[in-house]
């Protein structure tokens, strides 16, 4: 067993490099700065490029540009930086850019509590750009999971050509823990699907491959088109505007509808591929504890204490927040009388759980589980007592 004492930032950087990240751009912001510093120090050692941009907008723009040219890119920030990312997140969705964005959450709103943890960005990450199109959000609950879910984030970004967020927080990124590095769960590196190489005449300047190759064609509608890197054999055009299969701006309603439906369905029709969680069931339990991120640690201790005191309690740690892992949730909600959701916000995810609980109850003709949210927004971690008090 190789034990290492490391923080979440180190685990994320390690996961990123193992996932084949070759480009990083970031801007200093507490508590995401350690990721920037580690990347600037470590990425060049493995042949990658990491740089400190002039602001968050430049950071994410550079990452998107680098991805177009063939790199695998990641950036990291906190809530205020996510605000500045907003427009570019939209572009990354529109131009189908695989990208990993780490959000080390801190207490908001605005500059808020720069050095205190929180989970106030959970709905913001999902709805943080115009249009309402889906993104994927993963949330590690331990330093080891910071490693694995970073690999997973790169994998899903490539699978769906979409920005994938890693929702962490100050305590997750900066607190240190002992990790058995040999037991770390790995995710194989997914090869980027590239457009088939055309015949060698592409080097003939008179050849016009764009007349035959359609970089933005998808068939069926939920298929993810292959990428064609700048400098490679295909000439492609990338645009922030609603576009046709050539990448030219279009206002044709039929093409606009099909493109937008594609951006939705390529993820939502395959949401089962995005659902990850850790479920700890107990036979006969009618109480379910539910958490994600840092509060999941308090939850695990609460489960131990509750069971020791003779209560029957199941526990669900969500690793995927968006799309809402409805399959996992409806499974875990079966036979449950009460759900206790612990969050470092005013119940941003509690409402999603409530939504699923009501829908499942209606579907099965049974009373809906009572969903109780336990919250804390003073910058300090949730304690196990918060869960325990809500059992009875």
């Amino acid at each position: 067993m190789a034990r290492e004492y490391m923080d979440g930032a180190t685990a994320i950087v390690r996961g990123a490099i193992d996932a084949g990240c070759t480009f990083f751009a970031g801007y200093p912001i507490t508590p995401a700065t350690p990721i920037l510093l580690h990347m600037v120090r470590e990425l060049p050692k493995v042949g990658g490029v990491a740089l400190e941009a002039e602001d968050e907008i430049a950071a994410i723009s550079m990452c998107i540009g680098a991805t177009l040219a063939g790199a695998r890119a990641m950036t990291a920030t906190s809530g205020p930086g996510i605000s500045l990312f907003s427009e570019n997140i939209g572009l990354a969705i529109m131009a189908e850019i695989p990208l990993v964005i780490v959000d080390a959450q801190r207490l908001g709103p605005a500059t808020g509590g720069a050095t205190t943890g929180a989970q106030g960005d959970i709905q913001f990450l999902r709805w943080g750009t115009s249009g309402g199109y889906p993104v994927i959000v993963l949330a590690p609950a331990s330093v080891a999971e910071c490693y694995t879910l970073t690999l997973r984030a790169f994998d899903l970004a490539e699978r769906f050509r979409v920005p994938v967020f890693l929702a962490t927080d100050k305590d997750m990124v900066m607190n240190m823990a002992t990790v058995d590095t040999e037991a770390l769960k790995r995710v194989p590196v997914r090869e980027r699907r590239l457009a088939a190489t055309p015949p060698p005449q592409y080097r003939d300047p008179r050849w016009r491959p764009e007349e035959t190759f359609l970089p933005w064609a998808f068939e069926p509608i939920d298929a993810v088109p292959p990428m064609a890197h700048f400098g490679g054999p295909h000439i492609v055009r990338v645009t922030t505007s609603t576009h046709d299969e050539h990448g030219f701006l279009t206002k044709d309603p039929a093409k606009v509808q099909r493109l937008n439906e594609h951006l939705w369905r390529k993820i939502m029709d395959h949401r089962e591929e995005t659902e990850f969680a850790h479920y700890d069931p107990q036979e006969g339990a009618d109480v379910l504890f539910l958490a994600y991120g840092t509060p999941a640690r308090a939850m695990r201790e609460a489960v131990r204490q509750a069971r020791a005191a003779g209560h029957r309690v199941s526990a669900l740690t969500l690793h995927t927040l968006w799309p809402v892992p409805e399959g996992i949730l409806s499974f875990a909600l079966r036979g449950v009388r009460r759900v206790v959701v612990g969050e470092l916000n005013f119940g941003q995810y509690t409402r999603e759980v409530e939504r699923i609980a009501y829908r499942e109850a209606a579907r099965h003709g049974v009373p809906a589980a009572e969903v109780i949210g336990v919250y804390r927004v003073d910058g300090l971690p949730l304690h196990p007592e918060a869960f325990l008090k809500a059992i009875t």
Binding site: Y5, E54, G65, L68, P188, R203, G231, L249
Partner: protein
């Protein structure tokens, strides 16, 4: 299709079939033609060029060059260009951006790109107005002027793009005119060949919304002689040689400032600065990475056939190991 042994490159190669929606007489046509001609003269294959545009009439220029193209967000083409170039330093990257895109919303990126000196070509379409949104005052419109769309005279002073480029650290600075295509092609060719960030301010009359600084105004119809003159024809030498001493550099900069301030009846165009004293960012990366140009991020192999990373992180993280 047969492959010719020595394909002849003509400007037409770079011209795609995409409908142009610029106004008749727009200066942008001249710039796009000049880009086609410059690429043809340099004989650069289309798949080795990326044109990156922002938002505005200028941002649409990338649709009219048949190479890789990105239509990015308002004010953001520079960081996109930076990312593209750093991921693949074998690409020729050209930014097409307006005065609003560059000097207003994107000014922060403009300044910081100068600090890095990444090798790209920055073409700024300077017409002093926001044409696409129907003629609001741009950041290069002088104080007190009132173009036809403005309800009141401009209350902001103009930024001087050449001075800002100098202060930011651009290592090649020039100014062209969109109706002098032959001259403009020469400038774009030099800008592309320059190893570093090359900034070309292109005076580009907007026939629809700028009724003050028009084609006729630049032609000096009101004063009896053309306003524009070529710096190089008057013997101005823009080059700061490699390893130039402090006095030489200072003298060059003072001369630059003098020329960059000229406006009114005599407006200089041409090459203002070629600073060979500063290396490009890619060279700085290469000194850290070693084989950067051979295996840049875009082409680095990532994993073996089983999806297992090729990267051995153990030496990097040794400091965290507990014994």
């Amino acid at each position: 299709m047969a492959v010719a042994t020595k394909p002849k490159v003509t400007p037409k190669i770079y011209k795609p079939e995409f409908p142009i929606d610029w106004c008749p007489g727009c200066g942008d046509f001249g710039i796009v033609n000049a880009i086609h001609q410059a690429l043809a003269r340099l004989n650069i294959p289309r798949h080795q060029v990326a044109v990156v545009g922002g938002i505005g009439c200028s941002g649409k220029a990338q649709y009219h060059v048949s190479t890789y193209g990105v239509h990015t967000l308002h004010g953001r083409p520079v960081p996109y260009a930076t990312g593209i170039r750093l991921a693949n330093p074998h690409l020729h990257v050209i930014v097409v951006s307006g005065d609003g895109d560059s000097m207003a919303i994107g000014a922060g990126h403009f300044v910081n790109a100068g600090r890095r000196n990444v090798n790209f070509t920055y073409l700024m379409f300077n017409n002093e107005v926001y044409g696409l949104t129907k003629g609001q005052a741009g950041p290069t419109l002088p104080l007190g002027l009132q173009t036809k769309s403005l309800p009141e005279p401009n209350m902001n002073a103009a930024v001087n793009p050449l001075m800002l480029a100098l202060a930011s650290g651009y290592t090649w600075i020039g100014r062209g005119y969109s109706y002098n295509i032959r001259h403009l092609v020469n400038l774009i060719v030099q800008a592309i060949e320059h190893p570093g960030s090359a900034f070309l301010d292109i005076l580009q009359p907007c026939p629809t919304y700028n009724d003050l600084h028009t084609k006729e105004w630049f032609a000096g119809e009101d004063i009896g002689h053309g306003r524009l003159y070529d710096l190089q024809e008057e013997g101005y030498d823009p080059v700061i040689p490699q390893d130039a001493d402090e006095d030489t550099v200072r003298a060059k900069l003072l001369r630059f400032i003098e020329k960059a301030q000229e406006w009114g009846d005599r407006i200089p165009i041409g090459v203002f600065l070629v600073n060979k004293n500063i290396d490009m960012y890619e060279e700085r990366i290469n000194r850290r990475v070693g084989n950067y140009f051979e295996t840049p991020p875009a082409v680095r192999p990532l994993a073996d056939e089983n999806g297992i990373t090729l990267t051995d992180l153990s030496p990097i993280f040794d400091e965290y190991l507990m014994t």
